[in-house]
């Protein structure tokens, strides 16, 4: 099988953006799906290439760094690229049916830009390229949030925009400071020279704050629930599943490549504390929402907290435990992407049926749309971290790692978080089981909508059984080799 070049991952989406702006309605859709297929194939071919030769680089247009853009495919990048391809294509399929023609017209360009930005973030090993990717991502995401064009979503979009811009600036500031210190922006080079000084600490601090703001980590999260909860369903799914992962991915990259766990233990601890706060606060807030999509949005907030627990668990002392934590974190990210997208899509269908946003309007739906509830439930299983699911496996590895390092606090936090998430998921569930008078005036969603939701949910469960396939891609060297 001839290999598509890495660049395809970025070129195809950009092409898609152009095409969708230029072509007529029908051709737009057809071309989009042709391109989606191409992207999927591209990803698969990269996967095989990776199996063949391991990590590899490619300079776009043969312009090498520092001025040119060099792309790198390693296990982590590949996992995320695959994940985004999967989720994005399913969401696109969903959107095609779910959105109105006008909405769809605006949706496609933003969608393609979003995907391009995502791929560029996964594949870049250069801090500035990452910045560009981030910025493009934010703009596309803001555009998507505003897609429904009513006042609420506009407000959410504006809030999101400002938060994203602030985050980008923070990140850029950090990049500037780092460049000033080390004179390079390429991560591999940086990792060779890096040492923790005051200036680099300040620089990294700025970067992290910016990125965490975009990820909506606990104290900087207030933009997220309205944006994710207020957006159109496929958009919510994309945002929750993929967009926040991008900024977090950069933090993870920085942390592992610069070996920050060796440099500073207290930084990891701080991240852990933020994460714990996010888990508990997000869970608690999710439990108290009355709107279905807000519940899910707050659940995202809590889930982000779990990702943050990777950092305190990366330890310079215990390589095995660190590796477990890293694996666990990646699994959590992946499982969350699949499950949360599935959950949002299923929730969108439920809201479509009842025509209202309120949890109370769900009464009787479990009878009317059992398949949909099942999809929601499967996604919920992964979110709660009940076995067998990707979410459970991730959580398991994190707990194992914490136990091996005797960091019992995180165990307790994870456990409490699981209980909270179980509580809010089952709360939603119990609403669907209520029997009320005249609860049968539902609209019926198209079959595609239900099946797409189900497919993602099922994938999040299957991930629990096939975690080894994913983990095999992760190089042990990513963390432990140093």
């Amino acid at each position: 099988m001839a290999h598509f070049p890495i660049a395809g991952l970025i070129v195809f989406p950009l092409l898609g953006a152009l095409v969708s702006l230029a072509l007529s309605k029908r051709w737009r859709t057809v071309m989009s799906f042709i391109l989606i297929t191409a992207l999927l194939l591209n990803n698969v071919s990269l996967l095989f290439q990776f199996y063949g030769q391991g990590t590899f680089n490619e300079a776009m247009g043969n312009w090498s760094a520092p001025l040119g853009i060099e792309l790198r495919v390693d296990g982590l990048a590949l996992i995320f690229s695959l994940m985004s391809a999967l989720v994005a294509s399913v969401c696109a399929l969903y959107a095609c049916v779910y959105l109105s023609a006008t909405q769809l017209k605006l949706f496609w360009p933003f969608f393609w830009f979003l995907w391009a930005a995502l791929n560029s973030i996964w594949l870049s090993s250069d801090l500035f390229n990452l910045y560009v990717g981030l910025e493009l991502l934010s703009l596309a995401a803001v555009g998507l949030v505003a897609l429904s064009r009513d006042a609420t979503s506009l407000a959410a979009a504006l809030r999101y925009l400002f938060a994203a811009l602030l985050g980008s600036i923070g990140y850029l500031l950090g990049v500037a400071l780092l460049y000033a210190t080390y004179g390079t922006l390429s991560l591999p080079e940086l990792s060779q020279h890096f040492s923790l000084t005051l200036s680099s600490a300040v620089a990294l601090g700025f970067m992290c704050i910016g990125l965490l703001m975009k990820t909506a980590v606990f104290p900087m999260h207030s933009w997220l629930p309205p944006a994710h909860g207020g957006a159109l369903t496929p958009v919510s799914a994309l945002l929750s599943a993929l967009v926040i992962k991008a900024s977090f991915y950069i933090v993870l990259r920085l942390w592992t490549e610069l070996s920050l766990e060796i440099a500073s233990a207290s930084a990891g601890m701080l991240m852990g504390i933020l994460g714990s706060a996010a888990i508990l606060w997000g869970g608690w807030m999710a439990l108290n929402q009355t709107h279905l999509k807000l519940v899910i949005a707050y659940s995202t907030l809590a889930q982000v907290g779990y990702f943050m627990l990777i950092f305190p668990l990366l330890s310079p002392v215990d390589a095995h435990a660190s590796h477990l934590a890293f694996q666990g974190g990646v699994l959590m990210l992946l499982a969350h992407a699949l499950a949360k997208a599935g959950m949002f899509l299923a929730a969108g269908n439920l809201l479509f049926c009842s025509g209202q946003k309120d949890l109370k309007s769900l009464a009787g739906l479990s009878r009317y749309r059992p398949l949909n509830i099942f999809a929601f439930g499967l996604a919920g299983v992964s979110i709660m971290g009940l076995p067998p699911s990707g979410g459970f496996n991730g959580k398991w590895l994190l707990i194992q790692s914490a136990m091996l390092q005797s960091q019992w606090v995180w165990v307790a936090v994870i456990i409490m978080g699981s209980l909270l998430s179980a509580a809010y998921i089952f709360r939603v569930f119990s609403y669907t089981y209520r029997e009320v008078e005249g609860g049968d005036s539902f609209k019926q969603p198209a079959a595609v909508l239900e099946w797409t939701a189900l497919s993602l949910s099922v994938l999040s469960i299957l991930l629990g059984l096939a975690s080894m396939l994913v983990l095999d891609l992760l190089p042990i060297s990513a963390v432990v080799a140093q």
């Binding site: 506009l154 925009l161 990049v175």
Partner: protein, 102 residues
């Protein structure tokens, strides 16, 4: 102290103003301008700081800032569209939480 550093400090000053404006003002356009100031300040810092240590001009930051400006313009454009639409829909130039009890 090299002259480049002046740019950098200027950039820091711009950033300060930007942050100040961002926090203080609730009018959306003002916020957008504050953000632009922040962005410009950061670019200045990037260029200024990185030129300071070396003998010849470093072309890389220049290229980066150029890209950055393009991105910032795009962001500003998008923000303007959104703000216009918001104002048209709600007859307000501020977000709901900034509108006060009225």
């Amino acid at each position: 102290m090299s002259s480049y550093l002046i740019f950098a400090y200027g950039g820091v000053g711009l950033c300060g103003i930007g942050v100040f404006g961002f926090i203080l003002h609730s009018h959306l356009l003002r916020r957008l301008i504050a953000f632009n100031l922040l962005g410009s300040g950061t670019f200045l810092i990037l260029v200024g700081l990185s030129q300071s240590g070396r003998g010849q001009p470093d072309y890389i930051p220049q290229a980066l800032v150029l890209t950055g400006i393009v991105v910032a313009v795009a962001a500003t454009a998008l923000a303007l569209v959104l703000i216009r639409r918001w104002a048209a829909l709600t007859k307000h130039a501020t977000l709901p939480e900034d509108q006060g009890p009225s």
